[in-house]
């Protein structure tokens, strides 16, 4: 008698406990391969695209009846990271977009593993609950294509005709993606930041292997950091896929320190352990905000180059809110939004200078390299993973 009651109680409570965890499949729309990817417009609720140019006055009087909830997936610091007087851009973007489109709501989500989570979800047939992804780099696109086949594609091909401002984006920020999936919204330039009291600006990358720069450089791990990977690709762009390992051997002999994250190396730099660090060319903007000594935050462009790292946005394939997504991306390319994002992210706007007004506290201190270097999709595809592995093994050198 007692046993039966015990079993009832235990069984009942465990069923109750697990009941909350059961989710009914609604038939995965994300693996639907019949979603139209063509450039013809599907009968949406938006009015036909405006052709009037509006360089200075961003009109909000378009009778856009866009409604619905747009789920924007992005990276953590877009939403949370604090900067001096500018909080992360996410809140601003949401507020302004919802003001411009009163019937629409923006919801943010941050996949903890970044894009990898969505790739894995696609692989396993789990749902990807996002409409727009903000924060794509070229290597992300390469990684997507290495792991997903055509039937499982993650992003749709963008139709530039559905966005007014798409043609304002600078030409040198093109990702080179044959599938045209990402549109740049800001860019950074990776360069060297050095202390001019301790060391001279290195004129070339080769100079870094010379005795006067022995033990002077702090770099980052190319796997998992933007700056580290950018620096590695910069050396590959200059030395070629056959010569870069020799260059790195010389650099390692010259006592370069490769730390794990940008944070670690920058902390070491601020601590004056070494006089030079691979970092962003907008470094002086931060230094200015934090009242640091400018002579310790000089930006150097060896060979007059810097590596361009554009960040882009795309629309998830299979999303029901494509129209809202296009409107959002178009919104992000507006002058005032570009300016806010640039200040908050401390990156350069993606649109041409004539379309955006950046305050002096930024433009005085942010440096653009005379000759930006970048490896596009074609060069990276099929090669990037191999390069990263080769390089990692060389550095770990066991």
């Amino acid at each position: 008698m007692r046993r039966r009651r015990f079993l009832q109680a235990a069984g009942g409570s465990s069923a109750l406990a697990l009941a909350g965890c059961l989710v009914q499949d609604e038939g995965n729309t994300s693996t639907d391969t019949t979603v139209e990817d063509t450039t013809t417009s599907d009968g949406g609720t938006s009015t036909t695209s405006e052709t009037t140019d509006d360089t200075t006055s961003e009109t909000t009087t378009e009778a856009e009846e866009l409604s619905g909830t747009l789920t924007v997936a992005t990276y953590e610091s877009f939403l949370n990271a604090p900067s001096e007087s500018y909080d992360a851009p996410g809140a601003f973007v949401k507020e302004r977009f919802e003001a411009a489109h009163p019937d629409a709501t923006v919801e943010f989500t941050v996949p903890q593993n970044g894009l990898n989570e969505y790739i894995q979800r696609r692989q396993q047939g789990a749902s990807v609950d996002a409409d727009v992804y903000v924060g794509l780099n070229v290597d992300d696109l390469v990684r997507i294509d290495e792991n997903l086949d055509d039937g499982q594609r993650l992003f749709r091909e963008l139709d530039a005709g559905r966005m007014d401002h798409a043609d304002r984006v600078r030409d040198d920020l093109d990702f080179g993606d044959p599938k045209g999936r990402a549109l740049a919204y800001d860019t950074g330039y990776i360069s060297l930041v050095y202390d001019e009291n301790d060391v001279e600006a290195p004129p070339t990358l080769d100079a870094l292997t010379q005795p006067e720069y022995e033990g002077a450089l702090l770099a980052q791990n190319a796997q998992g950091t933007d700056t580290g990977q950018a620096f590695l690709l910069w050396t590959i762009a200059q030395k070629g896929a056959d010569g870069y390992l020799d260059y790195w051997r010389d650099l390692l002999d010259n006592d370069v320190r490769v730390l794990g994250s940008w944070w670690d190396s920058y902390s070491a730099y601020l601590d004056e352990q070494r006089p030079m660090v691979v970092s962003y060319s907008t470094d002086q903007v931060f230094a200015n905000r934090d009242d640091q000594d400018m002579s310790k935050h000089q930006v150097g462009f060896p060979n007059d180059q810097g590596y361009a790292n554009p960040e882009g946005m795309g629309i998830v394939r299979g999303s029901d809110n494509a129209d809202l997504g296009y409107a959002f991306m178009d919104f992000v390319l507006r002058g005032d939004v570009q300016s806010t994002i640039a200040l908050a992210n401390v990156q350069f706007p993606a649109v041409e200078d004539e379309y955006v007004d950046v305050p002096a506290e930024f433009s005085d201190y942010a440096k653009r390299p005379p000759e930006p270097v970048a490896l596009g999709y074609d060069e990276l595809s099929g090669n990037l993973t191999g390069w990263l592995e080769e390089w990692s093994r060389l550095v770990a050198g066991n």
Binding site: G20, A91, N221, D271
Partner: protein, 608 residues
């Protein structure tokens, strides 16, 4: 109900472990054993014969029967030993010459783990001695907060070390007054990494050993002395055998932790000091799950093998303790006349410990209060501002603090019974008992990255069940379950040795007098092993407070963030806000440790 309570406990534990540990990890590990859909060990073959992973040993494994080549290599190795004459000024002295051996990634990882363990033991044991044998003001508080370094996320430790020991750090400021100036971090990077490991793990060893020391029955020592043993003899023959299991348990845990270390090595040492876990991380972030799984399986195999070896040793012990007594402590400084060599040594150790442990924490707090232009409160102002004016999707500090505390208490409530149940059940006689015991250490022995991948692709994406249903476990329940699974091995490791030390006759008498098994456990055994339970509970609390990897994956909404997650999210291009949140983490954690310890001690008092 009483009679079945143990069965319920076992069933509940099994369900939690299955769902949150074995299935996710098993699914990922399975990928290591399949190549192109066919079960095979070829991936392991690739790893073992790769000189990058196993150095010179790989050549041996690749062609095990090529004896002439191997004998030649061995001869070369032995011939590599030698002595050369170096000179210190005009004085010559012999310097040993060691042969160069390619250790491979695994070899290097094991080597630095060994050094780190040795360093942690050397730093941690004197602390245990002081805490167990001396009485001084603030002893209880000090004892509670020794576990603080264990909780810190990697980024805070790295920053703390830079801020404390760096070129322009606190230590140099202090030493500069005396006229010495050399950055500690400019020395060997391996040395710094080992120091950081000691920072993390010496408290673990100290805590575990203190718990064991306090559980020593002082009457046994008195008996030994009364029978004629000298102080030293009594210590060596009575106390030390009871301490050794605890010290070894702590060392084993430290070795496993440092064997699988990841963020600290990259942050302070760099890629040149990469460990196996770094490669697991690289493979996982390139979505090369089979490669990551292969390396993780080898790591886990090594860790579990060591655990098994230790447990065979531990099983050989026996105990006769029958009652926990108050520990006999001498007063540390009753008056100035009592200062002798022993106390001076303790004071010297205290200074060194303060430098190693307190300075990074202090430097962290100082960092959060300064910016380029001196003292400022603006990072704390940011915290307040975020709390009051933040948007719904932004991480706010107060919910993070609350979540941390709630999750930690819930973890305590789940992990301690789990650990006690497992300790009791695996204490029974039976074949394969040691093997089962080794398996309970799986959460500690599994790479955190693989665990995260397993949780993500298993619990978060959902496990497909027959029919249209998917089982997804996310949110607070999942977080608590993951924390409990990560914490219960510590409870087991603290409780089991002491449980084994309790005289079986006591339990048998209780049962003979009519108590059920559970009654005997609760009324007789637990009070006797209460210091062990407390120590385990403190660890469970600490693990939960400091847990980051699985929390970040399972707590998908901003309102289930914990303090370490908040620290990471506040890392913008400036360090300040993250440091401020880190200081809050330190203060809250310290306060809660003290509370947990006092509460536990109070409950222990009542029980007696």
């Amino acid at each position: 109900m009483d009679a079945h309570a143990l069965t319920v406990g076992v069933a509940g534990t099994a369900v939690v472990l299955l769902l949150v540990l074995y299935v996710p990890v098993g699914v990922v590990f399975a990928e290591a054993f399949t190549t192109d859909g066919v079960a095979s060990l070829s991936r392991f073959g690739d790893v073992f014969t790769d000189a990058f992973y196993f150095g010179d040993l790989a050549a041996v494994i690749e062609r095990p029967l090529a004896f002439d080549a191997h004998v030649g290599a061995l001869a070369g190795f032995i011939g590599g030993f030698g002595v050369r004459v170096a000179a210190l000024g005009p004085v010559p002295y012999p310097m040993p010459v060691l042969p160069t051996v390619r250790t491979g990634l695994f070899g290097f990882t094991a080597w630095q783990a060994l050094l780190s363990t040795a360093a942690s033991v050397v730093v941690g044991l004197p602390a245990a001695y002081v805490l167990a044998n001396f009485e001084f003001r603030g002893r209880k508080t000090l004892r509670s907060i020794t576990i603080l370094p264990f909780v810190l996320p990697g980024i805070l430790v790295a920053t703390g070390f830079y801020a404390a020991f760096g070129q322009s750090g606190l230590l140099n400021d202090v030493l500069g007054v005396v006229g010495v100036g050399q950055s500690l971090l400019e020395t060997n990077p391996l040395f710094v990494v080992i120091l950081a490991h000691a920072f993390y793990n010496a408290p673990l060893i100290a805590r575990v050993t203190t718990g064991a020391w306090e559980a020593v029955d002082s009457r046994m020592v008195e008996t030994a002395r009364a029978l004629g043993a000298s102080r030293r003899r009594a210590f060596r023959d009575v106390v030390l055998p009871q301490l050794l299991p605890a010290i070894l348990a702590g060392s084993l845990l430290t070795f496993i932790f440092t064997f699988m270390t990841f963020p600290i090595v990259l942050a302070l040492g760099g890629l040149q000091l990469a460990t196996v876990e770094v490669w697991v991380y690289n493979a996982a972030s390139n979505l090369q799950v089979p490669e990551a799984a292969t390396l993780a399986v080898v790591e886990t195999a090594v860790s579990l093998a060591l655990t098994y070896a230790y447990l065979r040793y531990e099983a050989g012990g026996s105990g006769f303790s029958s009652a926990a007594t108050d520990v006999d402590r001498e007063r540390f400084l009753p008056d100035l006349a009592s200062v002798d060599a022993k106390r001076l040594a303790v004071l010297a150790y205290g200074v060194l410990a303060a430098v190693l442990f307190v300075m990074p924490l202090l430097a962290l707090v100082v960092e959060s209060l300064t910016d380029g232009s001196g003292f400022t409160l603006r990072y704390y102002a940011f915290l307040l501002e975020r709390q009051t004016e933040g948007a719904a999707f932004q991480t706010k500090p107060l919910p993070a603090i609350w979540n941390s505390l709630v999750f930690a208490v819930a973890t305590l409530a789940v992990a301690v019974p789990m650990g006690v149940v497992v300790s009791v059940v695996s204490s029974r006689e039976g074949r394969g008992r040691t093997l089962v015991d080794a398996l309970t250490m799986l959460p500690v022995a599994v790479s955190g990255i693989v665990f995260g991948v397993g949780l993500l692709t298993g619990l978060v994406f959902g496990i497909d069940l027959p029919g249209p249903y998917t089982l997804r476990v996310i949110g607070p329940v999942a977080v608590v379950a993951a924390h409990a699974v990560a914490a219960y091995p510590f409870v087991v490791r603290n409780v089991k040795p002491q449980l084994a030390g309790v005289d079986r006759a006591l339990v048998e008498s209780a049962r003979a007098l009519g108590a059920t098994r559970v009654r005997a456990l609760l009324d007789v055994q637990l009070p006797l092993v209460w210091p062990g339970v407390l120590a385990g509970a403190a660890f469970a609390f600490a693990i939960s407070m400091g847990e980051f990897d699985s929390t970040v994956i399972l707590a998908t909404q901003s309102d289930t963030a914990t303090m370490p997650v908040a620290v990471e999210r506040y890392l913008g291009r400036t360090l300040g806000p993250a440091m401020a949140m880190g200081t809050v983490l330190l203060v809250v954690t310290a306060a809660s440790f003290v509370a947990v310890d006092r509460l536990g001690g109070y409950v222990g008092e009542i029980q007696r």
